[in-house]
Each structure stands twice: as structure tokens, then as C-alpha cells.
Symmetry: C2
Amino acid sequence: MGNVTIKDVANETGLSIATVSYAINGKKNLPPETVQKVQEAIKRLGYIKNYSASSLVSNTSHLIGVVIPQTEPGSAMVFENPFYSQILSSIEYHARLRGYHVIVSGTNADEKYFNLASQRNLDGVIVIGAYSEDFFNGLPSESIPVVLVDSYLQKDGYSQVKLDDVQGGYLATSYLLEHGHEKIGFLSGRRKEGGVSLNRYNGYEKAMNEAGKKIVNEWVMTCNVGFEAARKITRKIMGGLDITAVFCTADIMAVGVIRELNSMGIRVPEDISVMGFDNLNIANYCTPSLTTVGQDIFEKGKQAVEMLYKHLAEEEEKGIRKLSGGECILPLEIIERESVCRINA
Amino acid sequence: MGNVTIKDVANETGLSIATVSYAINGKKNLPPETVQKVQEAIKRLGYIKNYSASSLVSNTSHLIGVVIPQTEPGSAMVFENPFYSQILSSIEYHARLRGYHVIVSGTNADEKYFNLASQRNLDGVIVIGAYSEDFFNGLPSESIPVVLVDSYLQKDGYSQVKLDDVQGGYLATSYLLEHGHEKIGFLSGRRKEGGVSLNRYNGYEKAMNEAGKKIVNEWVMTCNVGFEAARKITRKIMGGLDITAVFCTADIMAVGVIRELNSMGIRVPEDISVMGFDNLNIANYCTPSLTTVGQDIFEKGKQAVEMLYKHLAEEEEKGIRKLSGGECILPLEIIERESVCRINA
DNA sequence: CTGAAAGCGCTTACAG
DNA sequence: CTGAAAGCGCTTACAG
């Protein structure tokens, strides 16, 4: 059982528990032979540190919280969109490398998430996605580093990992324009002020304007960011539209669009070209495979962890709790596959 | 800050910390007015229980560990296969309903996972997938409930959540036979003794035997359980095989097969019918959509949590630490979509 | 270079 | 029905 304690190690070595603790944590610089004696005893006894105890006294738990949005209240977490699982796996991996464990959590609409931070003495929190302003109330903002991924909130003291979404929308649209498309649809989730969807729309608009192309109102479509919602809007609207291409701001939507166009007998890309955004695994799974704006999700998760870690290390070293509120903007690139073709205007 | 303690609540109410603790945990049955006084003070003060402290003294953390296999060592977690993210989301959700938090973790090949159980005082562990025998060494088996999901290890005292895989293989194959197929290929991961793949193979074999159909050696194919591996084996082997249908023991493989057949100009299902297993979301994403043996992943995650919870509740009530080592076998059903067609033999 | 001791915030026999 | 007190396993000034 895990009931070998620091006390047993002290007895075994003939040292005090204080010294054992110092040795374990590399605090005072003890003579190497003392440290070694302790390490040997630890191995011999199978000692394992009790984080509950150390967390209680030192106020650091080596635990980070990861929050993932819950679309349908009352249902499971939003793992319909593989984006979340992909970034979560990257976060877990990099946290582990740094010696942290990860508590994943959806959000109870009724309960304040950040209670968890106090209950568990979390060292930091990574928030993925967009939340309402009052989600962040009750967050001990000066006391715990928070990294926001893909959030459009501009909170002081919070670090951010994001994309240049305007640029992404611009890239995608330019790519379509270069391939001869002029009548280009746009499909996204709700375009909220400062949000990802609106930013990508702005990029789309910018590219269209620069190319001197008009955007027809009906080309701009909105639905939930999901596979089924995208199928539905494709069936109801997109099929009847006079467009040669559509830019979807999420791969999960683009895959839905392709799936439905296939069903309707509308050929992709011959009749309609489809462009996505994310470069998820599923972009390879559909036929035709999806040309998309690629973001590096693995890197995104890594950066989130690294930003957190930097704070934590600084805190420890200099005793600062002041957060820099840094920002990290990751690059984007076009990933060419089969869902877009060249046409002659 | 979260530094309102039980002591503050005691001061506020004029009660002792013991009584406050009793009130919070509903231990002795205190008079309702005492309990209410405490609850009011808690609300007023914004008291939040410190789990590090309670875990330290009571040896229960309200924390459960979830282990997910890591295919490529050194890379991220196996979220390539959406199965893992889907079940994880179900587990997190149901754990949360029960008041537990979830620590997700891949496995460092070098390190013993179960250290985590001691370090964090985990109340229980859910292990998803198959692991080598010595993964389980160092697990405090009598002291902490463990639920194995889709494991083929027969460990005493571990609960199991699984499928009737033989039955699943039988169902899939029978479905194909009923649709007139006789030359039916089989694609799975490595068929280890007692493992999921071998069991599904046995179901396949049984159905073929009962129908009086011979299985040709080359029809039985093996590759990694992944999209790319399935594509590759399709290109190299399956294309040249004299079969009219193939049963893949995982949707992620079936989707790879369909994708590659599409690329090769082999029509699905007209030239080759494809059958999957799992009923993941991606079964809808491909064209044609995938006919598959459906398991209820949401329910699987739920059962895993419930089995754990049952143990935990029993422990608390009767002080038993003896595990029942129960078993839960979930039902399977054919989900018809478009990737299988009827042929005339 | 090392140790005795206080204390982190809880829970839980035990006593009254 | 309620409380004083010990103790869970650590860390960390402080003293020597």
C-alpha cells in the first residue's frame, strides 16, 4: 500500500523528516551523499509522495484544470467535434511531461466551475473555447494563472493562445479566388462580436473586397458548429444557391456539407468546391478529402501548457504572482486536398 | 480567495469546527436548525471545501483516474480513434453527476501508472483498452476499485465492462451472409488470446461455418487499428482479393478502407461491401455512410462510472473493501447505412 | 549541514 | 446534541 511515508524514509536513513523533505524537493543544497542515501531509501521502501499533504501545506498541487464547453446542456461533453479531443490529448501529454496531472471537466451550467480551482488547489487552468462573461466570475484571477484558448474575451491578466482568424479567413478565400471562384459562400457558427466566426468572416470579406467581388447576402449562412446542422443547411439552402464554392469555418461543418452534397448528387468539387478550417483527422476521412486551413492543434495544446508552466516556474522562482497576460498567435497554412478544384470564370 | 476555512464557519456560527464538519458531511444527525445555520454561514462566507485536507485525513479524494492507451510511445494520446474521446466524455459527464472529478492520463511507458493512484489518493480507476500484464503490477488491487473497459485480462477483483465480441462478429458476418455475400474478408488488429479482435474473429468464423462457407486464408487480414494502416492494407492487398464484402472490427479501419476503395475507383458497396464495428460519429462522415455493429459508447462510459460508484458507496456504508469483480456486458445491434448492399450469389 | 516544531484544513473517535 | 484534541503527511521558517 501507499502508506510508506516520509517518516519511514527518515527512520530508514537515520535522518530527520525535514532533511528527507529537503532532499526530495532539492531545497537546501544538501551534500550529494545525503541526497543519495534518501533516494536509495525511497526506492527500497517504495515511497510515493502524498500530493494531498504537500498540496495542503505548500498550496501547489501539480494539478491543472482543463475546461471544455458543453454544447447541449445535460448531454455529454462536446466530443462530437474532434477538435476538442485532439487538443486535449496534446495538453495532457505536455502537462505530463512537465510533471502535472490534468483534471478535465465539462461545465455544469448551474455551478461555478472555478470552485474546482479552490477545492483542488489547482495550479492553473486552461480554458478551451468561448464562454459567457459570467463564467469567469468567481475565478481567483490574481491568484491562479489562466490560459484562454480560442477565446475572444479580452481579460486582463489572462494569457491567450489563438489564431489570426482574420488572416485564416483571408487565406481560405484567397485560395478559392485564385482557383477562379467568384461566387463563394460562407458558412459559420454565430458571428459574435470579437469571436472566431466573425473574425474569419472579416477575412473572407476582406479578400472578396480586394478582389472586387460582391458578396450576395444569401451566400452568408449560419448554423451550429456540427455535422448534422451543416447537412441540414446544405439540404435546405446551399443546394439552391448560385455559388461555385463554399468556405466553412470548421472542418466538422465542411464534412457535413460534403456528405450532404454527395447525397444530393451534387459533385464535389466539380459542382461546388468546399473549403474547411482546422485540419482535423476527419478531413482525411471524407470523400473527397477536404482542402482546409490548417492549424497545428498539437502545437496549440503545447503552447497552452508552456504558457502556464512559464508562469508557474516564475512564481516559484521569484515569488511573483503577477501574470504577464501574454499572447501566442499560431500560424496557419492551406492544406491542399481534393475538395477544391480550379474553374474558369 | 479560497482561504475561507471551516474555522471561519465555526466562528461565524459560534459552533465548533467539529460540528461544522459534521453538518457539512451530514454525519451525526444534527438538528435541522444547526445544519441550516451552518449552510447559511457557508453561503455568506463563500466557504469551499479543501479537498487536499479532507483527502489527507479521510483517504478519499472524490477523484477518479481514467487511463487511456498510448499507441505510439512518445506521441500524444490516442485520440486518433474517436472511440476514446467519446467514451471519455461519457465518463467525465457521469462522474461529475456523482460528484467526482476525473484525472485523465496517457501512460508513460517508463513509469508505473498506478503511482498516480497513491499520489493522488484516487478513489477508483477506470482503465480503457488492453494493456500488458505488467501494467497492472503495482496496482493496489485490494485497496482501490478498478474497472476495466474492453480489457481481455481476467483479473480477480476487477470489474469489467465489455461487449459480447463473439456475438458482435457473428452478427456482422450473418448480416453480410443474409445479404448474399459468401466471400467475406476480415480485417482487424492483432488477434491476441482472449482479446477483442480474436473474439470478433471467432464470431466471424462461427457464422461462416454455420453457413457452410469456407474462409480463404488471404481473406483474413491484420493491421494497426488506425485509418492510415487500413488504407495501406487496402491498397496493397484488399484490392486484389476475390471478395464481395469485408468486415472490419473497428469503424476507424472501415473508414480507411472505404476511403481507399473510393480512391482506387472500386465502388462501395457495389463492388465491395464494407461493414464496421463501433458506430462512431465518423461512420456518418464518410461516403457512403458506414453500416456497422453499433455499441452504445455513452452507456459504456456510464456503466464504468456506475460500477465504480457502487463499490465506493458500499465501501462507505459497510466499510467493505472487498470488490465484487462484477461484469457488465452491453448489447450490440446492427446499424444499417449505405456501405453494404445485397447481392445475388 | 541538520533537526525540532508549528501548522496547512480537515475528520473522527472519545468524552461529556 | 456538541466540543476539545489528536492526527493525516507533508513543508518551512527558525535555531543550532
